[in-house]
Structure formats: C-alpha cells, structure tokens
C-alpha cells in the first residue's frame, strides 16, 4: 500500500478526456507542481471542476491558457480573462455554478447522495432548466452530484497512509473533492510517517487519498 509516487507517475493517471477536480481558491491551496506538470504534459479535452480558474499565471489558470479544457465548471472565472475569452468565442464550454452549490454537488457525489435541495439561485437565470422541488411550501432547486475521474489536490501535511492536514484557508475544495473522484492525488508540502498526525486533527481521512506526491514547500 505504498501511495507515494513521483509527479510523472501522477500525471500518467490523468487521461485525455478525463473530468478532473482541482483544489484551491484563486490558487491558494492548489497543487501547483501537479498543475505545472500537467501543463507540460499537455493532456487534452479535459473537463475541469474547480472553484475558479485562477489567473493566467497562477494555479489552474495555466491549464486554461494552454487550452487543455473542453469544458469548465466553476463558480468564478473573473480573475482569468482567458477563460472569459474562450467562453465568449465558443472555444470552451463554461458552466457557472454558485460556490456553495458546487461544493454540495461534489459532496453529494462523494457521500452517496442523489443530490441536495438548495434555495440558492431560485428565480434567476441560473435556475433555468433545473428541477424545482417544493418541500413544506418552500421551493428549492434540485442539484445533482458531480463526480470526477481524478482529483488533484494540495495539503500542508500528510502521513504515508494519506491522512491530510491543511493550514489556513487552503482546505477549501481540497477536502471534499477527495471523496468524489475515482483517483485522488494529493500534493503535499510535508510528508510524515504513519502515526505522526494526531487522529483528532486529521482533516481528510487517508482512505480518500489514493496517491501522494511530495511537493515540498
């Protein structure tokens, strides 16, 4: 059960056409080395599910600039003009989802739910085409699960079983996406021995993490 692989082995796991989760919020808590290696590899026709598309120079935005996505599902693309350009010119399909809905959709996938009901977006254009379900007199949108083939995430610390610990605001989407991908690869700043993370403070149980990449600080 050795989960530690090198970056090239990690990138081998992402195939043309795959749907990928990428952790991070405007690049904070993103797996930067994995992203750089994926840019270098040039894997194409990917579907991205991510909170945002970073900037052209930071985080997942580099993959946008390199035109590796055929579709992007995100809550915000305003910090990366290239995403907007590709959308406007019809090069890349972009689906915008409210941030709180997006994370619940991913959680539904990872946690075995058929979806959740949320009031967010009711009455707006976002709601068009979505099923409305009335619960005790109140309307909600039915939001379905979102799965991925591979999640690439970042963590501050990991033990060799894959238990993850995040510092500061880097937890964001990393924690939940690990539960909803067939393969989760965590790029970690610090790798410690099994038993070196107090079980009370593990943020992501190691069972959600298939592979570890030692990313350094």
């Amino acid at each position: 059960m050795n989960k530690l692989i090198n970056i090239e082995q990690a990138i081998d796991l992402i195939k043309d056409g795959d749907t990928i989760f990428v952790g991070g919020f405007l690049g904070v808590g993103s797996p930067h080395r994995l992203i750089d290696a994926l840019v270098k590899r040039g894997t194409k026709n990917l579907i991205l599910i991510c909170n945002d598309t970073g900037t052209p120079e930071v985080g997942v935005g580099k993959l946008v600039v390199n035109k590796q996505f055929r579709k992007i599902i995100a809550s915000h693309i305003g910090t990366n003009k290239e995403t907007g350009r590709q959308m406007m010119e019809g090069e890349t399909e972009v689906e915008l989802v409210p941030q709180g809905t997006l994370i619940e959709q991913i959680r539904s996938a990872g946690y075995g739910l058929g979806g959740v009901l949320t009031p967010t977006g009711l009455g707006t254009e976002y709601a068009k085409g979505k099923q409305i379900i009335n619960v005790d007199g109140k309307d909600y949108l039915l939001e379905k699960p979102l799965f991925a083939d591979v999640a690439i995430i970042a963590a501050t610390k990991a033990d060799k079983f894959g238990n993850l610990f995040y510092h500061g605001a880097t937890r964001n989407f990393n924690n939940i996406t690990s539960s909803a991908a067939k393969i989760t690869i965590a790029e970690v700043e610090e790798l410690v021995e099994i038993g070196d993370i107090d079980p009370d403070i593990v943020h992501t149980p190691g069972i959600f993490v298939e592979y570890l990449v030692n990313g350094g600080k």
Partner: protein, 217 residues
C-alpha cells in the same frame, strides 16, 4: 472623506455587538475599517474561515491566509478555519447576520444584479448567490449611480443574482430600505435634496415624513 469611505463608514453603523458579517470585494471590504470601537464584529471569509483580521505586516505574511479575493490577511484570536462545505453551510444556513455587497443594479423588489453583463462581462456568481440567499440581512453598498447612469431601478434588466434579497441600500446620497411597499428613503446626505436623490433613482422613493440626516458616528 472620499465617497467610498463615506459609504463604508455608514454601513458599519448597522452592525451590533457579536454580529457575523461577510464583506464583498471592493468597497464592501472597506467597511471593516469603520466598525465602531465599542462593538465586536466577527468577519467571515467565504474561502474558509471566521475571524478575518486586517492586512498583515510584512513579517506576518502567510500565503495560506488570504481573503476571498486572494489577498493576504490575518486572523484574529478565536478564528477558525474550515472547508468550503462548512463555509457555505454557515452562509446558506442563515448564520451570517449581514452580507455587504456591491451591485450593478438593484430594484424596488429587492432584486439584485451584480454578477454579469451578457456578452461583455461574465465573471460568475462566486459565492454571491449563496450569500444573498442565506444572509439574514443584505446590505448593498455602492455609489448611487454609475457615472450618471441609474442603478436603483423599478426593475433590474441585467440577469439577477437573487430575487427579493436586498434589505438596505447605502450610497453617498442616502440610506434606502427595501420594504413590501417599495423603496423608502430613510436617511439622506445633507449635501443633497430629496429631489436630487429621486432624480438619481429610477424607482419611486417613498418618503415617510422627513428623512433623517445620514449619521456616520
């Protein structure tokens, strides 16, 4: 005092001791600078924490601690970090007392448009739809007009971020409350007359007696 600081200072007067507040990017962020010293307001950052503090001194800078705009910040004693699912649970679940956001348009039903101009600017809703749906009170903090073009309308014509969501509009001209009857001008900046405020507002302002003078202290 410049117009934005004036608006931010007036917004800060709404808060009560112990309130949990989420501030949007731009002008709303400035509100934190004007919280009265005799009350303790707690700020939430939707990327994953409660206890947002001021910008760091150079030696305090921690790349893992940024606000929802990706800008380095600090956290105050008693802060707590969490993932995006918890963050938006707090937001959607009605645990945030006030959210302060800017707007492109607001109308007399409390509808708000602040996330896209079709064909021109499509940044995405980020966390705004969830905040507008979930926060107990929504305050729009913005300049009264956009270089003369009206923003407080009878009916928004841009895609809505949320319906019936706004409670209070604070501009450099006055403070407007959204009520079931329409927009009530509650306070006025003494530099303007009621007629001037109405002329800068497409929706008909309801005047109940004489509006109070906008107070900043």
């Amino acid at each position: 005092m410049d117009v934005k600081s004036f608006i931010a200072k007036r917004v800060a007067r709404e808060f009560k001791d112990g309130n949990l507040v989420n501030l949007g990017i731009g002008l709303p962020t400035m509100v934190a600078n004007y919280v009265p010293e005799n009350i303790n307001v707690i700020f939430q950052s939707e990327n994953g924490f409660i206890g947002l503090g001021p910008a760091p001194a150079p030696e305090q800078l921690d790349p893992a601690i940024t606000n929802a705009g990706g800008i380095p910040v600090t956290v105050k004693p008693g802060a707590a970090f969490f993932d995006s699912a918890t963050s938006f649970g707090i937001i959607r679940g009605g645990h945030v007392d006030y959210t302060v956001l800017g707007a492109l348009q607001v109308d007399e039903k409390g509808n708000i448009a602040n996330y896209m101009i079709p064909g021109k600017m499509v940044p995405g809703m980020g966390g705004a739809m969830d905040l507008l749906t979930g926060a107990k009170k929504v305050i729009v903090a913005m300049e009264h007009t956009a270089k003369g073009s009206l923003k407080i309308l009878k009916k928004c014509n841009l895609p809505l971020t949320a319906i019936n969501a706004v409670d209070l509009i604070v501009t450099e001209m006055g403070v407007i409350e959204v009520t079931p009857e329409g927009l009530v001008l509650k306070e006025i900046n003494p530099e303007y007359t009621v007629e001037q405020v109405q002329a800068a507002t497409e929706a008909t302002l309801i005047i109940k007696g004489k509006p109070e003078i906008m107070k900043l202290d």
